[in-house]
């Protein structure tokens, strides 16, 4: 049977199943195939904190959403066009997000009386008219997979577990994805067990062939490659990009990278990734706790390494005292906070931007640090380099505020030329800097950067003592002198405030916008998509996005004051808006959501249109 092929410009697919169904892997593979094809992509994994929540229950549902298009896209998509539901729980948990007319592929084998009862279905939604508004494709995924593997030397359990590859095969067929990379992946993943390679490949092909032969799927879709800048690309998550950025910072500075970390969701993947790069001289220490992790990083910085610690909000709280010590010692230190929904344990696998206050102010005493935030998964690479640049040049702790959305989401990344990356080389102090030619003054500052000399142990003639007690200007001796303390507090503030950071750029294609949307961090994509939507309706709106939160760009006040209204959407209760109001006396409109999920572009678009009506 010849199938009709229909061209689409964009598609959003959500794979949903039980935590043990391998949905993250399935989504990841589909994404990789899609990347090979040259579509632009954005992904959103969404999974529970429990490793294996009770099977078949709503809390156990894990999903992976992928948005791909033949043009550049900014978000993983608001609403799926296709839902793959591996069980009744996955259907129930995700149905509300589907627009009418969406395709639903369900694994009918899991729609048993028992599984339906687990999630409160009185009768099967496949049998009544509750799904009437959707295009439902009932597929006996499990039994067809097991059937396809009848001749294979695998257990029934292993055969059933291959059902995600059947689903992947089917979707790959539906959307005309090239599957060679998936076959290679399976060979790598199961290298030690060839029978599983064979079984998974067979399951994948069975899914593909099912699509081709069954009459239920009459249409096949194509999404043409997006027009993207020439070059070599890979698909990358924020955590992976951030890790590579830290490795790159080590290469470009010539310093060993030292990571002290304690496992915490959603930051642990950075520890995993960096632990693989020992050939670059990267040392990773899995410390006994968050405090030891930052302590070890600071100790390594003192010894001349690029000290880094990676964590999430609860970990930053524990590290706070040591970060203040680093402020007093004036040593480089990069603190990565992959934010998650708080307070306390909160929702560890869900996203939020509510650690901004903590990053800016969460220390005892006057303890200013630099703060920067990446705007997208691939931007985590450059943000890590920028954090390292500021830390090394200005000898200061830098907090890098990533979040779960950019950390686990992915997008295509145009690989940079290594030589084009910033030169981060630093000079250690090698000789006395006192006027007499013999004295070493550990707190004599560079007049331009206000940085003190970095004199590392092992340097003869520069032996000196540093510590948390207030130091006298220049000599670094312990000082309780009132005027000296006042001077040192102001100097530490000025050190951060005078770090040159690029001016903020405004995107206003129409040039006559009267409303500015200001964001920071991971909201860049949804805000950008919402602004495009507003402009497509013929309205003008300007977008600006902050990368540097401390210090802020020098032109920010001027930019803010040149608009009638400033809207600040944040996944918190208005933390940036507070700062903007206090610093610039701008009556910004704060728009907030704290649902553990990124903004949808549609919601933001509606909000912005409301604001525009009242200008």
């Amino acid at each position: 049977m010849t199938k009709q092929i229909r061209q689409l410009d964009r598609v959003v697919i959500r794979f949903a199943g039980d935590s043990g169904d391998g949905m993250q892997l399935t989504g990841d593979r589909f994404t990789s195939e899609t990347a090979q094809l040259g579509n632009d992509i954005s992904t959103l994994p969404n999974f529970p904190a429990e490793i294996r929540a009770p099977a078949g229950t709503l809390p156990g549902v894990s999903s992976f959403q992928v948005h791909f298009a033949d043009y550049d896209i900014l978000t993983p998509g608001d609403a799926p066009n296709v839902l793959v539901a591996m069980n009744p729980a996955a259907l129930k948990a995700n149905l509300a997000d589907l627009p009418r007319g969406a395709d639903i592929i369900v694994n009918t084998d899991e729609f048993t009386k028992r599984n339906l009862a687990k999630v409160g279905y009185q009768s099967s939604p496949l049998d009544d008219d509750s799904l009437a508004g959707y295009v439902v494709h009932p597929v006996a995924l499990t039994s067809m997979t097991v059937g396809a593997l009848a001749a294979h030397e695998v257990s029934k359990k292993d055969a059933e577990r291959s059902k995600n590859m059947f689903a992947l095969g089917l979707l790959s067929w539906m959307y005309s994805r090239p599957y060679e990379s998936t076959l290679r992946f399976l060979e790598r993943k199961f290298a030690a067990r060839p029978e599983l390679v064979a079984a998974n490949v067979a399951a994948f092909k069975a899914g593909w062939n099912f699509g081709e032969t069954t009459e239920d799927f009459g249409v096949r879709y194509e999404v043409k490659p997006a027009k993207m800048k020439p070059g070599t690309y890979r698909n990358i998550t924020g955590n992976a990009a951030l890790s590579l950025g830290l490795v790159a910072a080590g290469v470009r500075s010539g310093l060993p990278v030292f990571l002290g970390a304690y496992p915490i969701t959603p930051a642990s993947d950075i520890l995993h990734e960096l632990s693989k790069h020992k050939r670059f001289g990267v040392i990773t220490v899995q410390a006994e706790d968050e405090i030891a992790a930052v302590g070890a990083a600071l100790g390594a910085s003192y010894g001349g390494s690029l000290g880094v610690t990676t964590t999430s909000g609860p970990g930053v709280a524990l590290k706070s005292e040591t970060i203040s010590l680093a402020v007093a010692l004036e040593l480089p230190l990069v603190i990565v906070d992959v934010q998650r929904a708080g307070p306390s344990t909160g929702m560890p696998t869900k996203t939020e931007q509510a650690d901004l206050n903590m990053a800016l102010y969460g220390r005892h005493g006057e303890a200013p640090v630099a703060v920067i935030a990446p705007r997208s998964p691939s931007d985590c690479f450059f943000a890590a380099l920028e954090a390292a640049r500021i830390a090394l040049t200005y000898r200061t702790p830098v907090i890098l505020l990533s979040d779960n959305y950019v950390a686990n989401g992915s997008e295509p990344w145009l690989l940079p030329d290594v030589e084009s990356l910033p030169d981060l080389r630093v000079e250690f102090a090698t000789k006395p800097n006192g006027e007499d030619g013999t004295t070493f003054l550990p707190y004599l500052r560079d007049p331009e950067t206000l940085a003190r000399p970095w004199a590392i142990p092992g340097t003869a003639g520069l032996e000196h003592r540093i510590g948390g007690l207030e130091k006298a200007d220049k000599t670094g001796d312990i000082s309780y002198d009132p005027a000296n303390h006042d001077f040192m507090v102001r100097t530490r503030a000025a050190r951060i405030e005078t770090i040159p950071v690029p001016d903020i750029e405004v995107e206003d294609p129409d040039g006559d916008a009267r409303v500015l949307v200001l964001g920071w961090g991971s909201t860049y994509g949804p805000i950008g998509a919402a602004c495009r939507g507003v402009r497509q309706r013929g309205l003008s709106i300007a977008q600006a996005h902050l990368r540097h939160l401390a210090p802020m760009p020098a032109n920010l006040g001027e930019v803010l004051r040149s608009y009638d209204k400033v809207v600040i959407p944040e996944m918190n209760l208005g933390q940036l808006a507070h700062v903007i109001r206090a610093r610039y006396l701008v009556d910004a409109i704060s728009y907030n959501q704290v649902r553990g999920l990124p903004f949808t572009a549609a919601e933001l678009e509606t909000t912005l249109e409301e604001v525009l009506k009242n200008v």
Partner: protein, 344 residues
């Protein structure tokens, strides 16, 4: 230019220009003088020696040593020193801490540094009181101790620092006393020679808030009957003419003190710091009574175990040994690894 001539350093070279600000009569003075006098022996250049401390009276120590030094925050010195030592195996890293710093607020870092066997020399000045905060009981204060924060007597059972260190898998454990310079230096010498963590408890008198805490071990009229001076390879006897000895009673779990005249010579335990099983050193650590009778000093345990630093460095070296490219080439390869695609 001629080669620099190695100059023999003296105690004076290790004195910094900072005024020492401990209370007059503090035991810390004696420890500082003993260490400054001892450091030249190690033949380690000053610039390669680092003292890291936490918070407390003892933690002011680095300011007075003309080496590299960091006075950090309460309890965290072992963690900070771990990062320094692991990343800089060329340095000699010393941690100076107190009973509150190491055993209360920093207890976690201490035990983990010891189990990892980080190449740190950890000197715990134990005065059994909080001095810098003016006289609260510490985790080594005796039960019932009346202090500012325990007017009715402390209800806390104390830690035995050596038992704790041994339980944390310490590969080197010793004890010495502030007032006995020769002994103190002998234990430090052994600690300095040890590869891995060396934990040394130094009994130190706080003459302001806990004066005389160790008097029985110092008073010429009592000390010989109270102190057990451990010497590797020697039978453990003490007191006038060796009238007491240490035995391992059959059927018992630990060690006990007996009158030497009541036991056969072969029953007397011969001290061996290299016994692999920490139970032996642990039994030694349990000998002292509440009145400090039967307090062993010296090296309890000194066993060979790879240091954390050496294992980490070996992994780095193994990974780097395979590298043939420049760092930039390696980085380009890493960035372009995995599934990539090219748009022309």
């Amino acid at each position: 230019m001629s080669e620099p001539v190695a100059v023999k350093l003296t105690a004076k070279d290790f004195k910094s220009d900072q005024e020492v600000r401990w209370c007059p009569g503090c035991g810390d003075y004696a420890i500082l003088a003993a260490i400054q006098q001892f450091m030249p022996e190690l033949n380690i250049p000053r610039e390669r020696t680092v003292f890291v401390s936490g918070i407390g009276c003892s933690s002011r120590f680095p300011y007075y040593m003309n080496t590299y030094g960091m006075h950090s925050i309460h309890g965290r010195a072992p963690a900070i020193a771990t990062g320094l030592s692991v990343s800089r195996p060329d340095l000699s890293v010393w941690v100076v801490t107190g009973d509150g710093d190491a055993l209360s607020i920093g207890g976690n870092h201490l035990i983990h540094a010891l189990r990892r066997n980080v190449n740190l020399k950890i000197l715990l000045f134990n005065n059994r009181i909080y001095g810098l905060t003016k006289g609260q009981y510490s985790p080594t204060s005796e039960v019932g101790k009346v202090t500012k924060s325990t007017p009715a007597g402390s209800a806390d059972a104390p830690f035995n620092p050596l038992s704790l260190a041994l339980g944390a898998e310490a590969s080197f454990v010793g004890r010495t006393i502030d007032s006995d310079r020769k002994h103190l230096q002998s234990v430090l010498r052994a600690a300095a020679e040890h590869e891995g963590s060396a934990f040394v408890e130094i009994y130190q008198n706080c003459n302001i808030f806990n004066d005389g805490a160790f008097d029985q071990l110092k008073d010429p009229s009592t000390r010989d009957d109270y102190l057990i001076r451990l010497e590797h390879g020697q039978p453990i006897t003490f007191g006038a003419d060796g009238r007491f000895c240490v035995v391992h009673p059959p059927g018992g779990f630990g060690l006990e003190v007996r009158d030497t005249s009541s036991v056969r010579p072969e029953e007397i335990v011969v001290h061996d710091a290299t016994v692999t099983d920490p139970a032996y050193a642990f039994a030694l650590s349990r000998l002292p009574g509440l009145d400090l009778r039967n307090t062993p000093i010296g090296v309890f345990r000194s066993v060979d175990r790879p240091s954390y630093d050496s294992v980490v460095q070996a992994q780095l070296a193994a990974a780097k040994a395979k590298v043939t490219e420049t760092p930039e080439q390696q980085l380009a390869g890493l960035l372009g690894s995995g599934d990539t695609w090219t748009i022309l």
